[in-house]
Amino acid sequence: MTDQTAAPPVLALRGLRKQFGPKLAVDDLSLDVPAGTMLGLLGPNGAGKTTTLSMTTGLLRPDAGTAWILGVDVWQNPAAAKALMGVLPDGIRMLDRLTGAELLRYTGLLRGMTEADVVSRTGELLEALGLADAAGTLVVDYSAGMRKKIGLACALIHAPRLLILDEPLEAVDPVSGETIRQILRAFVKGGGTVVLSSHVMELVESMCDRVAIVAEGRLLANGTLDEVRAGMSLQQRFLSLVGAHDLGTETLAWLRSS
């Protein structure tokens, strides 16, 4: 563990800040992710998770602060920083008039890979994620889970050092979900680093060794899974930090018909 803390963090966010009109979406957020770890980013809806990840991946320019990937500043030297990252965005359209295989090839070539690498990895990724049969179908005709999987394949194809995944398992069936978990575990074991956002506590507890909790644009907790949990279940701890919304006995009383 000591060598990990001594090495520079793979991802370092410093004072990130973003305001949309009157709403402060991300407020002076700083976070370090050491190499070879998997960080789960948790937070209620509208907490600023996606905004933070967009500022990390170069999609949204922060009002203040910046993100460092392996010592490269995303906003000073975007091309070098982006080469180190693989990104699965959430809620963003894909170039969905391409087939799955075409989209993978396109992503690989945009990443500057050689054609031979692109072709062999495309085949392997489609096979591993169970998309081989759908390789010739337009992505616009994919189901939500299949889109997640092809998005993940696009994020993986150039063998990045850091993976940034927004809701990676949403709408994915349990079989493919297990495949993705295996892929991510192997990736971390091989020295890769993962940042994933999720609403599923079970996923974070079983997969991640570090957890960060964000609410209203601020970092509420950050540390190893056991530090953050502090003896509670992650669900309880999350609710106690974010503030549970307890329904009184009178609310929705008419629903209790029997």
């Binding site: 295989a101 992503t107 337009l138």
Partner: protein, 530 residues
């Protein structure tokens, strides 16, 4: 239930307008055009009412048939985003019998429905030649409106399963945009044909009489028969119209009932040919990949298919215009001007390149987080477009020179077309990097929402046009001079190729630098809703 559905439709329209100010502009422009049409209709009817009452009746029946046909065919174009689609009610405990009256009245009180009602009311001007016809004219307004709305429901309902396939939706949308784009020429052609035919009165009267017996115009045939003094025929036509309403009513009720329990889900078109040739032909680099992707999108994205088809259509339209004017003034005839038609067509390149980023919408994020260089993006898109545009322009130039009977003008024709095309494409590549404009979202119906490129595209046009004209002046000027001194065509070709190549390179380089600096802002602009 009726009031609920009608207010639901209007509230949804209101929310859409509040969210998207450009839609208000589109709506106002459409409204003004509709008012203009109604004013022409009113003036024409008024004039005919006094000058030639019998002709007025013919025109009324034909207009009525046109309006009805417009509703029935138009239903295909707007069915893609029906705010009161049956599927939305399939989880609620309602029956088709309960829903249908409200849906029909909601359909009749849309903007189109109100305009139609107004048009039908204006028709009373024409019916006023005869007192009884006027009274009957009032009574058939609801009848005619019901046939319009119910017929549209039945047709879109019958074709709903076919339209649910992505490929058929794309096809309908492409044909619709093309019809809208070439409607001016079509109307001119029809009018010219009518003028050529000379006395067409009897033919029209005959057509009106036949249509008056069909569901399309039976309602309008009733007062027409009364004006003609044939009460018996009027009665039979009234029965036909009433029977039409009844049949359409029960048909749409059955269709609605079926869709409530078996909702139609929009589906895909299955596998596509992957076109490996494109990949083999273009280099396996970011530029080559972007070019290959642009080529695939020109074929698979209906919004961009329209652009390419427009490039094929515009010369036909322009040559049609030259041809029609040539007919009227024989002295001009097919002039050497025809050889410059491809050059005008090539100007479309500017807008197509300028809008390229907007069509990607937020999918553009892929280019950003993969770290593609701006210049690679610009060059890739230019290359992809060039693979289509250059051969197209070559064929057009040869064809236009053959058509004009002046093969000696080919160098000038090529110089002007390739030069202006490359220059405007280069200008578009640069301007599009900071004024990308806005395109309808990939899944949106170009007819359903405001599809204007917005103010940005107008400003972009104002920036690109002078650049294209100044840089293109040598190629165009020598091409025109070649009409008298054909040898100058070669100078035009040289100018076009050299300046064109420089413009493409300059546009890609300058535009690329802007993109490298402004990627996140460009993404925000092309993906914003309003």
């Amino acid at each position: 239930m009726v009031a609920l559905l009608v207010s639901l439709r209007w509230r949804q329209l209101g929310h859409q307008l509040a969210r998207n100010p450009w839609m208000i502009v589109t709506l106002i422009i459409t409204g003004l055009m509709a008012l203009g049409f109604l004013a022409v209709l009113a003036a024409g009817l008024l004039a005919m009412r006094f000058a030639a009452p019998e002709t007025a009746v013919t025109v009324l029946v034909l207009t009525g048939a046109l309006i009805t046909a417009g509703w029935w065919i138009g239903s295909l174009l707007v069915s893609a985003d029906d705010t009161l689609a049956a599927e939305r009610f399939s989880l609620l405990p309602v029956t088709a019998r309960q829903l249908l009256p409200g849906m029909v009245i909601a359909g009749a009180t849309t903007i189109g429905g109100l305009g139609t009602t107004l048009a039908l009311a204006l028709m009373l001007l024409g019916w006023s030649v005869n007192g009884l016809a006027l009274v009957v004219g009032v009574l058939i307004i609801p009848l005619a409106l019901a046939i319009c709305v119910l017929g549209a429901r039945v047709i879109s309902g019958l074709l709903a399963r076919w339209l649910a396939r992505r490929r058929s939706r794309d096809l309908v949308m492409t044909i619709g945009v093309l019809l809208a784009a070439s409607s001016g020429l079509l109307i001119n052609l029809v009018l010219a044909a009518v003028r050529e035919m000379g006395d067409v009165g009897p033919a029209f009267a005959g057509a009106a009489d036949v249509l008056g017996w069909t569901p399309l115009a039976a309602a309008f045939g009733v007062p027409a028969s009364i004006v003609a003094g044939d009460i018996g025929a009027a009665g039979v036509r009234l029965l036909i119209a009433l029977a039409t309403v009844a049949v359409l009513w029960f048909a749409s009720q059955a269709l609605l009932a079926a869709r409530l329990v078996a909702p139609i889900q929009s589906g895909g078109g299955g596998r596509v040919r992957s076109g490996g040739i494109i990949d083999r032909m273009l280099p396996a680099t970011p530029i080559g990949a972007i070019a290959a992707r642009s080529l695939r999108y020109f074929r698979r994205d209906p919004r961009q298919v329209v652009n390419v088809v427009m490039m094929l259509f515009l010369p036909a339209i322009l040559i049609g215009v030259v041809f029609m004017n040539g007919l009227q003034e024989d002295s001009i005839g097919f002039g050497p001007v025809v050889t410059l038609v491809p050059a005008i067509d090539a100007l479309l390149a500017g807008t197509i390149m300028q809008m390229a980023l907007a069509y990607d919408n937020d999918a553009l994020a892929l280019h950003i987080h993969t770290g593609v260089r701006g210049t690679a993006d610009r060059l890739g898109r230019l290359l992809g477009f060039g693979v289509i545009a250059v051969p197209l322009l070559l064929v057009l130039c040869v064809a236009s020179c053959v058509l004009a009977g002046r093969p000696d003008l080919l160098p000038g024709s090529l110089g002007a077309a390739l030069g202006l095309g490359a220059i405007s494409a280069g200008a578009g590549a640069w301007v599009g990097s900071f004024l990308p404009g806005r395109a309808p979202a990939p899944e949106a119906n170009p007819f359903g929402r405001g599809s204007s490129g917005g103010v940005q595209s107008l400003i972009a046009m104002a920036v690109m046009s002078p650049i294209t004209l100044i840089l293109g002046a040598p190629a165009l000027g020598f091409a025109i001079a070649a009409f008298w001194t054909p040898a100058l065509g070669w100078v035009s070709l040289a100018c076009g190729l050299v300046i064109g190549a420089a413009a493409v390179w300059g546009g890609a380089e300058l535009g690329g630098r802007v993109l490298d600096r402004r990627w996140p802002q460009v993404l925000a602009e092309v993906s914003s809703e309003a």
